[in-house]
Symmetry: D2
Subunit: 312 residues, 4 copies
């Protein structure tokens, strides 16, 4: 395989190629505050294990993490409580159901299928609330700052917007409480969930989080271990099978590396042993994943042979 | 990470470590003929891109491919009809449903979620039957022989046993026919499905198929391209998210490489750019995956850093 | 309430009123042979407990019983095996699922929800096959002849047509067999099911069956007890809650008496202690019930106060 | 049929016969306040269309109406808004799902299957809240007082207990809001739902409500029309198919008249054109229906020929 090298011109080329695809998607509007994002924004950042970055586009544009933050809270929960305890409350299997689906909880299993569906992410927030109480959100912010080396801000507007349109998430929480699947007390953890979704980041922040996972848990910034190796394995495994909601299967076919998307239009991807990648373009497909973001990652994976294909 | 080298003693050690786990599983008995396999059998074979093999255990033991054969028929279907045509009839998303589940076809989507669930694999057989008619099974055998360089036999006993206990698969076929989701004529393709499941192989056969995928479609035997690169991508992507039925998520966490299991106790796994792996141990867990096989792959992945983790 | 008397002019008036409604329905075509029925056919017959009849329309038109025959086979099964034995294999609860639904069998309960859904009716045929062997269909014919005092013919054309378009029913049978919910041997009973659906009747035949149930099991023809009182109770109870598939709830609101419909356009209804009613008009609504037939029964129920409403 | 006459000794006999059955049931405890009821309480009251009563047992024992109150709020909604408007928001079909089931709302239909499941009853409360605002509960109380001629009290303790254990009902409300199936504003109507469930009644109150329905909507007390005939038809039709949750089918087989149960142990039944019946015994079966109450109604139906069976 003719494998290219990661360079600024390569990313610029990808940007030009995928830019037109934004018209095939639609900026999320179920959270009103998200709908104000320009559909023309686009950025991509790659951060390697030695912390060097190659980037293009609107790399300084802030957006909210949304579901990508589920990586952070899950990491903290596993580090704090251990794999065994966390996966008592949530399973690790992908489903073909939409991200906010509830029916399987009544139909098949009382615990959520995985921690990246909303139901599972709410359970993780409940676990953090139980462990850290009022300091749970500080914990999430601090950990994100530790990984990224950035000061992490929080969008109160998006948070308020999420809260005011949170019927489905409330339904999930109350349903799980009613069947005894939600650990701890019901108060507070939905706030925590909305707050983590409202953390602000750039594509570079995402790429840095990805680089930490690519290294197996050792910080590219400090060289210190931040995550246990098994925590990184679990996060990457779950990203591989469940990271793009009910588009995860297609992502594995088209891109072939672990990823995690958010409805603000960001996607975090990981090339293990190599680099973290952040991409951003607000217009989404019907499953809630960034259209241009997906295609950019597909091109990048192909051109850099991120699947590690052999002779071909 | 202290990465070991793949050697015979390493595989021997793994064999010793995992051997006791066979008592936690149960040899499949829903197909009577499978239940005659000794639970004590164990083998592992690794074939690298240069076609060299490292192996241990009952490496000459033949067993039937069962669901692992779905890789072969799907490959042929994609090569013959193209990605676009094939994925009109089957989706590429994992589910948390059991391998023989039907309900989603009535509940959510008229086409099977992916080609590795029984429903999806039956659709693939129907496509091959439409394309190749009476020669469809010859096509499957020939292709398997081309990949492995072996003469592939077929167990008539297992085939008869499958046929006589095939109510669930018949239900799937008739249901899909009734909702218009099954291409072509209903006659014959279930035979094809039972036949492909009854092809005989050793762990080395599996490892060779894996090595083909690891190379991106170029035969380690002949150096010739056998599969288009995009076909290999699709197969590997689907193995990653759907290869171990509703245990695929856990496999991604514990092992972290593409795999495909069968109820005879075999698992085929792939380390892209590196090697193909075949493992065999008949006792299964509740999801239909080999207990000792899973653990052997977990150890191998860890010791050889098959996830390509970075600094750690 | 101004209650009218049942007279020929009353039925003639109802016929005129409902006739135009046939254009809102569609003659069944999933069984090709059924689609040849003229949409303009209409008949209604009321047979009282003293065996006197008041009728209008195409009262000599023969049509196939289809699902209405489920009343006959269920009656025989209960009489032969007893309530307790029969309701081990099928429940007695209505669902909001369509008549040929399968998903609940995988999702909630291994036995069919009630004997009037196809799955449940197939189980009843399997029970009769187990009890009577090759004579099962003779038993059904004889019993229908005993009730109606008519020679019952059987449409080979419709039977062949049903057989050749029977994928859904085969799916139901094989699925139930695969989960161990089907008593006895799988061979033969689907034939029995298709055969009973193909028995020929007129609206008067239906009204006579209804009159037997209205009397609590004593034949209006002979004055002899043909059904145990508890069998009549069970049949009428099931007709009340499940007789019109997933339109049973609306039927109870609009008509308010026990009924059982078939996709050929017939409906059998019962006014307990009073009379049996047969109505026929081929065009069906989306749930498989005769449009004009439903409205005719609604008018008849209203004008004759068939709900036994009090002072009003 | 040897039909008995309704007398005090007949009810006394039934009481003696069914009393032992209370040990087969279990007093509801999911609402803590309900669990304090003695399992030994039993009462039955029959009120005929001329307002005369025959009764036995603890006829002066107050208990909360629970789901039986759904009859009242649905009646008001239909009278105020009309059948057409009300049944835009809720269907009229029975399901085999439990009373508090949610999955069908995601899986099949965005509106609840019927107004007697919790989801449907919550929709009815939302409609009343929209129509009457803060006066909605007064409306319910006044209407119940008009029907019964009694001063209706309200149990604040049960209300508080319901509120504090209301996760499932909150889940239903938020879920329906999230899919746009809940009319009006979300605030207040769950309070209304809990309040109506907490209205106090005796078996005589229930029998009087039943007598109103038995007369087709004309008050046995005043001789005045209180409900339109079509409203009474709708209520009775829905009671027939959905009144005992997922035990409605068995009730139709065993008892054969319209009924509506509540988890406090009350059942309201109607013999159209004849009388209303109230029965009370707290221990419930697994579906939430009073064990002894069901059997008492079965005996009463049999002995008084409430099914209006003919010659038998």
């Amino acid at each position: 395989m003719q494998k290219m090298t990661l360079t600024q011109p390569l990313l610029d080329d990808i940007k030009i190629t995928v830019t037109g695809l934004r018209f095939h998607g639609k900026v999320a509007d179920y959270i009103p505050e998200l709908s104000f994002m320009s559909p023309d924004l686009f950025a991509i950042s790659c951060v390697s294990l030695d912390n060097s970055a190659v980037e293009t586009g609107d790399v300084n544009q802030y957006f909210t993490m949304q579901s990508i933050s589920k990586i952070i809270s899950l990491s903290i929960a596993i580090e704090k409580l251990g794999m065994k305890e966390v996966f008592k409350y949530v399973d690790m299997e992908p489903t073909a159901d939409s991200f906010n689906s509830l029916m399987r909880l009544e139909m098949s299993s009382p615990i959520p299928a995985n921690p990246f569906m909303n139901a599972g992410a709410i359970v993780i927030c409940a676990l953090l609330q139980s462990s850290f109480g009022a300091k749970a959100f500080d914990e999430i912010i601090s950990f994100t700052e530790l990984i990224t080396g950035e000061k992490i801000e929080f969008s109160n507007k998006v948070y308020e917007s999420e809260r005011s349109t949170s019927d489905r998430n409330k339904a999930l929480a109350h349903f799980m409480k009613s069947i005894g699947s939600l650990p701890g007390d019901i108060d507070g953890f939905l706030e925590l969930y909305f707050r983590q979704c409202s953390m602000m980041c750039t594509v570079r922040s995402l790429a840095k989080i990805g680089a930490l996972l690519a290294s197996g848990g050792i910080s590219p910034l400090s060289g210190k271990r931040i995550l246990k190796k098994n925590t990184a394995y679990a996060i990457l495994g779950l990203m591989t099978t469940c990271g793009l909601y009910n588009g995860s299967g297609e992502f594995a076919v088209r891109v072939g590396i672990p990823g995690k998307s958010g409805v603000s239009g960001g996607i975090l991807a990981v090339s293990p042993g190599n680099m973290g990648i952040g991409v951003f373009s607000p217009p989404l497909d019907s499953k809630g994943n960034s259209v241009a973001g997906l295609y950019a990652l597909e091109l990048l994976s192909e051109k850099l042979n991120l699947r590690n294909m052999g002779k071909s």
